[in-house]
Amino acid sequence: MIESLEGKRGVPRNRPPFPVTQGYLNKPTVVNNVETFALAARIAVYGGDGFAALGTKQSKGTKLLSISGDCLRPGIYEFPFGVSVREVLEACNAQDTQAVQISGAAGTCLSAKEFDRKIAFEDVATGGSVMIFNRQRDLLEVVRNFAHFFVHESCGFCTPCRVGTSLLKNLVEKVYTNHGTADDLKDMSYISQVLKTASHCGLGQTASNHIADTLKKFPEIYHKRLLVEANFEPAFDLDSALEDARQITGRKDEMAYL
C-alpha cells in the first residue's frame, strides 16, 4: 500500500525497516485498519478498563466478525474475544455445518471437531472473516475457488508465491477433474510448505493454508477423486495436445489418435 501511495508498483517492501520507523516517503507511518482506529478511539474516550474487562487474558476487548455462508442470519457481529466457534454458529443460526473458514481464504479451515476452539489471538486468530460451509457443500469446490483466488492475488514479486500458487491451482484442477494421484497430493503438501516458509510477505506465507488444512482435516475430498491409487498420472494430456493438429490437418483416421 505504501509503495502504491508513492506511485510505485504495488509489491511488498523488504522489512525491516518496518513502517513505524520508515514508511510512507521513508517517514514513520502507522498502518492499521478501521477497526483498530475505532477501538483506539473508544479506549481514548472511555478509558481502558471497560475494554480490558472483556475478552481473554491475552486477547482483550471485542472483535467484529463478518459472517457469511450457510447460515440463516449472515452479517456483522461483535463478540468478546474468547467466544467459541460453536457460539458464533449458534448466534447466526448455522445448521449442519461441515467446516468454517476463519480469517478469510488465507486463514484457518476448522472441521466440526474443532468448533469448541476460541476466537482469540492465542487460539484461532482472525481478521474478522467467518465463512460457513454446510454438509451439502463440496469442499473441493471451495479449495478450488481459493486456489484460483491466490493465483489472482499474488503480486508476482517472489518465486514461491508467483509460481507456487499457479502450481497449486493446476494440481487442484487436476484432482478436481479426476486426474490426480497420491503423488500429486504429496506435491501439493510440499509446495504448500515451501510457500509458507519461503514467501516474501504474509500473503504468500498463508496462500497455501487452505490446501494444507483441508489435506489434513478433509483428506476424503481429495481421495475420493483420485483417478486410481497409482503414484503417477502425467499432467500432460497427449490426446488433447494432438487435437489442434488433427483439426488443422483434418485427420480423423486411427493413426491420428494415440
Binding site: 508498483r9 504495488g10 523488504n14 525491516p16 493465483v151 489472482h152 492475488e153 499474488s154 503480486c155 508476482g156 514479486f157 517472489c158 518465486t159 514461491p160 508467483r162 509460481v163 507456487g164 500458487t165 499457479s166 502450481l167 493446476n170 506435491d187 510440499y190 509446495i191 515451501v194 516458509t197 519461503a198 514467501s199 516474501h200 499432467a235 500432460f236
Partner: protein
Amino acid sequence: MQLEEQTITIDGQKIPFQSGQTIMDAALAAKIYIPHLCYHPEFKPHGSCRLCTVMVNGRYESACTMPSVAGQEILNNTKELNENRRALTQMLFVEGNHICPGCPKTGNCQLQAVAYYVGMLSSHYQHFYPYRDLDPSHPDYVVDFNRCILCELCVRASRDVDKKNIFAISGRGIKAHLIINSPSGKLEDTDFAVGDKAAFVCPVGAILRKRTRYTTPIGERLYDKQSIRIVGDSQQLHAGATKYGRK
C-alpha cells in the same frame, strides 16, 4: 578496553560482521556460500528469488535483506533449506522456457549452477511453457524473455547505475514479465549500449551479447569446472565487476 568483535553464527561457525551488513554480506565476506540469484553486492537487495532463505533464530528470513545482528544463530546449509531451494529452482525452471542444452549461457548460468548445487535432477513440476518473445533487434545484444527469472538486476542496473531505465517489470502475479521501455518495446529503440552495467548483470541467458556467445567452448566455462559454491556469481566473468564482499 578492547572492542569486542561483533559476530553471528552460521551453521555453527562464528563469523564477524560490520554494522550495516546483511547476513548475506557477512557470509560472503567469510566465504560462506548462501545460494542466491537476485542478490548482487553492488545493488540494493531485492529479496525476490527467495533462494537465500535461511533460518534466523528460528524464523525464516532472506539472508540478502536481513541485517546482521550480534548473536544471531543462523541455519543455512541444512537438508530442509536446501530442499526448499531445490523446489524454488524447479519453480523457476517450469515457469519459463529454460532449455539448457540449447542455451548459449550454459556453463556460465547461475540458475543452472544453482540447480546443480541443490541437486536438481529434473524440473519435477508441470511446465507452464509460456509463450514469450525473443528480441534480436539490437545490433549488439539479444534479449530472450523465455529465460528471464524476474530478478530485476537489469532493471536495477539500468535505473540506478546507467540512469537509462531501459528495463521494467510489467504485469502481476504469474503474468509478471520483463519489458523494454521504448515505444516499440524493442531494445533497438532504446539507448542501450555495450558498456551499460545492465548488459553485465543478467544471471541467466536472458540478455546476451551477440557474436561472443561461443567464444568459450562449452565444457570449459565457469560452472563446467567448479561449483558455484566455490566460484560464486557469474558477474565476476565481466571486466569491471567487483568481487563479492569487497567493494
